[in-house]
């Protein structure tokens, strides 16, 4: 059927082009989008080969889960904090080239030994139809012949859970709920002014001065904007003065609270 072939070439072309796009794109999010496109097209080639279940898994796991994770990270991380995207060290370049070549050889070897000279396996369309479909056929093999591999997968996933938590969750996050709620920015009174709070100021706080405190920037600002603010200031009883504090590191603020 020439139509099959035509559609295959269309899908394959989109696949290859989007894979190239992943490498070429300057913006990491664009790279991720190209990768999504590539994965969806790979799923389409799976469908063309009759592997429906695999195609759906490809979409659910790779595009629906793993790339969502990638996009999350890209959105969470400030792009300025990322290492230079296209300035890999020469060593990495050579290693990448080498790994690519090895992969190509592996794929080539698989094609030659299996589809050119290898003998036909049992997963023929007729056999698959006989057991009721693709999913059923896969399940039969997976839960009998490859039982050990399947159980090892659960171990691997377990390690994955532990790894994710150890790597991504700073230790203090674990104790969070015991401490009062902490936002990323908290507006509060500076330490030492409010009797209820302990003395001193934790690291990471920036003072945003109000009209009562003196700081060089405010003084120069007052000159520029006119001095109507200074007029309204008047004498203030000590102890009522309250400055606005922006806490960059919210946790430093919270730990102060813990100490009392």
């Amino acid at each position: 059927m020439p139509w099959d072939v035509l559609i295959f070439y269309l899908i394959a072309a989109v696949c290859v082009l989007s894979a190239a796009g992943v490498v070429v794109a300057r913006n990491p999010v664009h790279s991720a989008i190209f990768l999504v496109l590539c994965f969806v097209n790979i799923a389409a080639t799976f469908v063309m080969m009759g592997a429906e279940f695999l195609a759906v898994v490809q979409v659910i796991v790779y595009t629906g889960a793993i790339l969502v994770l990638v996009l999350f990270v890209l959105m969470l991380v400030n792009p300025d904090d990322l290492p230079e995207f296209h300035a890999a060290r020469p060593v990495q370049r050579y290693v990448g080239l080498l790994l690519g070549a090895i992969l190509l050889l592996e794929v080539g070897a698989a094609i030659v030994t299996r589809s050119v000279s290898g003998e036909q396996g049992t997963a023929t369309p007729d056999n698959i139809a006989a057991v009721g479909g693709n999913t059923q056929a896969l399940g039969r093999v997976l839960y009998s012949d490859y039982l050990l591999a399947f159980e090892v997968v659960s171990l691997v996933l377990l390690v994955g859970v532990v790894g994710a938590i150890v790597l991504a969750l700073p230790e203090r996050l674990g104790e969070r709920p015991s401490v009062a709620r902490r936002g990323s920015i908290s507006l509060s009174h500076p330490r030492g002014v409010d009797a209820a709070l302990p003395e001193g100021r934790p690291a990471g706080e920036t003072l945003i001065p109000t009209r009562h405190s003196t700081s060089p920037t405010r003084a120069s600002g007052a000159v520029a904007t006119g001095n109507d603010r200074e007029v309204s200031a008047g004498p203030t009883p000590t102890g009522v003065v309250r400055d606005l504090v922006m806490t960059r590191d919210a946790d430093a603020f919270g730990h102060m609270g813990d100490k009392r």
Partner: protein, 387 residues
């Protein structure tokens, strides 16, 4: 009967798509009317009889609005992100069976677009692709509210996606297939309980899964009380804040189409789909029953919105991860176990059953005791007022 030409199948599919779009338009009318009635108002009344032309007027109005693009936006992504959510939502309807093969104008027509061997997973897969509409739209807007709303929405959707998928496992165990047509056929059988015959709908054998599925479906479609991604009091409009004109309406369309598809899906999986009195004699009745069940679902959605206040975000994630996920895993193991016993694979002595029953009752009593068991969420409400 493999002689249905492709164009005919496509006509069926295309009809289904357009009916879905029209259904979506009238879903907005329905929602406004029902909400209004629940709040002792009238809802739209001016455009056409009982406001029936309101959705059309809305559509035309949205077509005539200026399409604004923020200067900082990532333009190509901004252009295509809304289409993603629209296309994935609408294509999911392909696997919903509206009936078997019927004769229309002397021709055999299959009343479904595609009978995929993996139909149920197909809907889940397209649902997971829909997340990209949210993530990319919020990223491309390069604005604070969309970014926050998008992250929230994506985290919420992926959390409930697992629950949604796992809730269906019980149905798969009972039907032995992922194809929606097989699942439907299995539910057409009758169960005899003594003198009465009842249809073998999976809601009867999988009530817990059904409840979990319903909760997860509401969360998955970002509807109240799980509509945190667009919590207007804190996030403006959430991930589509920067969108206007018809690009905005794709998000709107996507949300409603998703609701309808997920309701159709639930009706097919749990409520016997096209099954109902007379549906085996006339195919039109089958479609009627399917749509009736779907409308009940949609009414329930609106009812929830009118009744419940919004959750807090930690409660929302807590429900998915701490309540529904263990519950759904338990349901799977439990269903499998019962199935084993029902198949006669496992012989269980009577005293074990009695012991289990006593243990369950004891556990229930313990967890219902004030201060015991329970989940953690309500206990932490005191922490909120902190800042």
């Amino acid at each position: 009967m493999n002689d249905q030409p492709l164009w005919l199948t496509f006509i069926v599919a295309f009809t289904a798509m357009n009916v879905l779009l029209a259904g979506m338009a009238y879903m907005t009318w329905f929602e406004r009317k029902v909400l209004a009635r629940m709040q002792d108002r009238l809802g739209p009344t001016r455009t056409g009889p009982a406001g029936l032309l309101q959705p059309i007027a809305d559509g035309i109005k949205l077509l005539g609005k200026e399409d604004l693009i923020p200067a900082a936006a990532d333009k190509p992504v901004f252009f295509f992100a809304p289409l993603v959510i629209f296309v994935t939502a609408i294509v999911s309807v392909a696997v919903i069976p509206f009936g078997g093969t019927v004769e229309i104008f002397g021709r055999d027509v299959n009343l479904f677009a595609a009978d995929l061997n993996v139909g149920a997973l197909f809907i889940l897969a397209f649902g997971s692709l829909g997340v990209y509409g949210i993530i990319l739209g919020s990223y491309a807007s390069a604005s604070r509210y969309p970014l926050l709303g998008g992250l929230r929405a994506a985290a919420q959707v992926i959390s409930y996606e697992i629950v949604l998928g796992l809730a269906l496992v019980g149905v798969f165990i009972l039907s032995g297939s992922l194809s929606l047509r097989d699942i439907l056929a299995r539910q057409q059988e009758t169960l005899s309980l003594g003198p009465i015959d009842i249809p073998n709908w999976f809601i009867l054998s999988q009530p817990i899964a059904f409840v979990i599925y319903t909760i997860a479906a509401v969360a998955e479609t970002n509807r109240a009380p799980f509509d945190l991604p667009e919590a207007e009091t804190e996030l403006a409009a959430g991930f589509h804040t920067e969108y206007s004109a018809f690009r905005f309406s794709f998000y709107y369309l996507g949300e409603y189409i998703n609701m309808i598809v997920i309701s159709l899906f639930a009706s097919t999986l749990f409520l016997g789909g096209t099954g109902g009195p007379g549906s085996d004699r006339f195919w039109g009745l089958g479609i009627f029953w399917l749509l009736a069940k779907t409308i009940v679902f949609l009414f329930f959605y609106i009812w929830l919105r009118a009744t419940l206040p919004r959750f807090r975000y930690d409660q929302l994630m807590g429900i998915a991860w701490k309540v529904l996920l263990p519950l759904v895993l338990l349901n799977i193991v439990f269903t499998a176990f019962i199935r084993l016993v029902a198949n006669g694979e496992l012989e269980i002595p009577v005293w074990v059953w009695i012991a289990v029953a006593v243990a369950v009752v004891a556990l229930l009593a313990l967890s219902l005791r004030p201060g015991g068991g329970g989940e953690a969420a309500p206990a932490r409400t005191s922490a909120v007022g902190g800042d």
